[in-house]
């Protein structure tokens, strides 16, 4: 995802909506910021600077399908080599956030890296939240009406 910097008014809702604690508002600027995967470089046909600069190819950039395939192979390799704790994080399109555009090969539990172990998009409970909110709104209206049609009529 990319923040439109000419539009963002710094309301900060994305900051509290992110289950990874990634996006934040920049002090002195007031707008939300996060890694853009070097949006400008991508438009120029280049890969993100971090992937380009990485001397060990620990950071790789490419089509997600290919990356997932490559990651699965690497994982098998590590497991065969006696590193059973190796695992992928954020690669599964069926997880609570629908998979990530950037995913990791970890050697321990995600929380050890400061990552949430089983993140879920807050919007998963959207219907339930609106339903309860609507019920509370209706109850308020009903209570207000009944406050005026009370028996005492005062």
């Amino acid at each position: 995802m990319v923040v439109q910097q000419d539009i963002c008014n710094g309301c900060g809702y994305c900051v509290s909506g992110c289950p990874y604690g990634v996006i934040d508002r920049r002090h002195g600027d007031g707008r939300a910021n996060k890694c853009t995967l070097c949006y400008d470089r991508l438009h120029g046909g280049l890969e993100p600077a971090c992937a380009k600069a990485c001397p060990t190819k620990s950071i790789q950039f490419g089509p997600l399908d290919e990356l997932r395939e490559r990651a699965a192979q690497r994982l098998d390799q590590l497991h065969d080599a006696g590193v059973p704790e190796a695992r992928l994080y954020g690669h599964d399109p069926d997880d609570g956030v629908g998979g990530n555009g950037a995913f990791f090969l970890l050697l321990d539990e995600p929380e050890v890296y400061g990552l949430p172990p089983e993140p879920v998009v807050p919007t998963r409970d959207l219907a339930s939240t609106w339903k309860h909110t609507g019920a509370a709104a209706a109850a308020l209206l009903a209570v207000a009406v009944s406050a005026f049609v009370g028996r005492r009529g005062r």
Binding site: P117, T133, A144
Partner: protein
């Protein structure tokens, strides 16, 4: 097998989790005091607008005046608080570029946009000087007062309730976990504060509906607030500990006290009604700051994120999970490895 090397099971399992050097997983909300203050003024505005419309229809001019002016005054303060809290206040109108049902922030913007004109027009009609009344503009404005007030009252329940969805629809553990009860806490709080303002500003003879609205709202707020605390789940601990807990307890005392006054002395004494009204207003404000603070606290300690998600994954021993969730029942699993598919102990040393 245990940290100390002994092979004996501990009577109560150690409640531990791992993190990156105890650093938070989430970013705390960037919102300052202005947002919980807005939660209060927005609710107050909505409660007052409902009271004003009812007073208008049932011939209670003093209560109508208090409600309309309180409603619009609350809205003006709300607008200031919301805009001033933005990182780029001069871009506040960018909110109106889109309408997104999945974002309570966007839905709320549109609810306030629909609510504002009625609230403003009703207040203007109320403030219309008698000397301008005979003019055409004066007569039009006077005639517009009732429909404008009713329009504000129609949207007022939305104004009072959407703020609960605004907080609940985030990754902030304490807010998200309370998503079922929070709307009732907030609409109850809005009714209590609106009723409290009516008790404070309108004479006793006209303030009957204000007292009834205040009592019903206070009851809803107190019950829903206690239901939040009874909900299982670690994030709820953020409501029952620290500053959030102190704010919410103070809120309970004030709201309860105000409600008791509303059903007793406020029916006879103007002074008692004013005191009860002030207590209800203060109780509502502290409730907003308390729930807000609980959410902030739940982003700062990684346990509120890691533990519930661990339990969700089923990779935590049952007894440990219960300790972490505050529901330990005394039953200890005898073979810690059996519940962990990978057979490793992930706990911190």
């Amino acid at each position: 097998m245990r940290d100390d090397g002994s092979r004996e099971e501990l009577a109560v399992p150690r409640a531990s989790f791992r993190s990156y050097y105890g650093r938070p997983v989430l970013k705390p909300p960037v919102w300052g005091w202005k947002i919980p203050a807005y939660l209060f003024t927005g609710g107050l505005s909505a409660g007052s607008a409902l009271l004003a419309a009812g007073a208008d229809l049932t011939g209670r001019p003093a209560l109508r005046r208090a409600g309309r002016l309180g409603g619009f005054g609350g809205l003006l303060v709300s607008m200031y608080l919301l805009i001033a809290d933005l990182g780029r206040p001069e871009r506040f109108h960018h909110m109106l570029r889109v309408a997104k049902p999945s974002s309570p922030m966007s839905v709320g913007t549109w609810i306030l946009t629909a609510y504002g004109p009625g609230s403003g027009l009703a207040a203007a009609a109320e403030l219309l000087p008698a000397s301008l009344r005979p003019t055409l503009a004066g007569r039009l404005l006077h005639a517009a007062g009732r429909p404008a007030g009713l329009s504000a009252a129609i949207f007022a329940p939305g104004v009072a309730s959407y703020t609960a969805a605004l907080l609940a629809q985030t990754a902030v553990p304490a807010w998200h976990e309370a998503r079922r009860e929070l709307p009732f806490v907030y609409t109850g709080s809005a009714a209590a504060s609106g009723g409290g303002l009516g008790m404070l500003l309108a004479p006793v003879a006209e303030a009957g509906p204000a007292r009834r609205l205040a009592v019903a709202g206070a009851a809803a707020e107190l019950i829903a607030s206690r239901l939040v605390e009874r909900r299982p789940g670690l994030p709820i601990e953020a409501y029952t500990t620290g500053r959030a807990h102190r704010l919410r307890r103070a809120s309970e005392y004030l709201t309860l006290g105000g409600a008791i006054v509303a059903v007793s002395a406020a029916r006879r004494s103007r002074l008692a009604a004013a005191a009860g009204g002030l207590a209800l207003l203060a109780g509502s404000a502290l409730q907003r700051f308390g729930t807000f603070e609980a959410g902030v606290a739940s982003t700062k300690d990684p346990k509120y994120v890691v533990v519930p998600q661990r339990v969700l994954l089923g990779r935590t021993r049952r007894d440990e999970a219960l300790v972490l969730l505050g529901q330990f029942d005394g039953h200890v699993e005898l073979s810690p490895e059996c519940d962990q598919p990978d057979g490793r102990d992930w706990r911190v040393q």
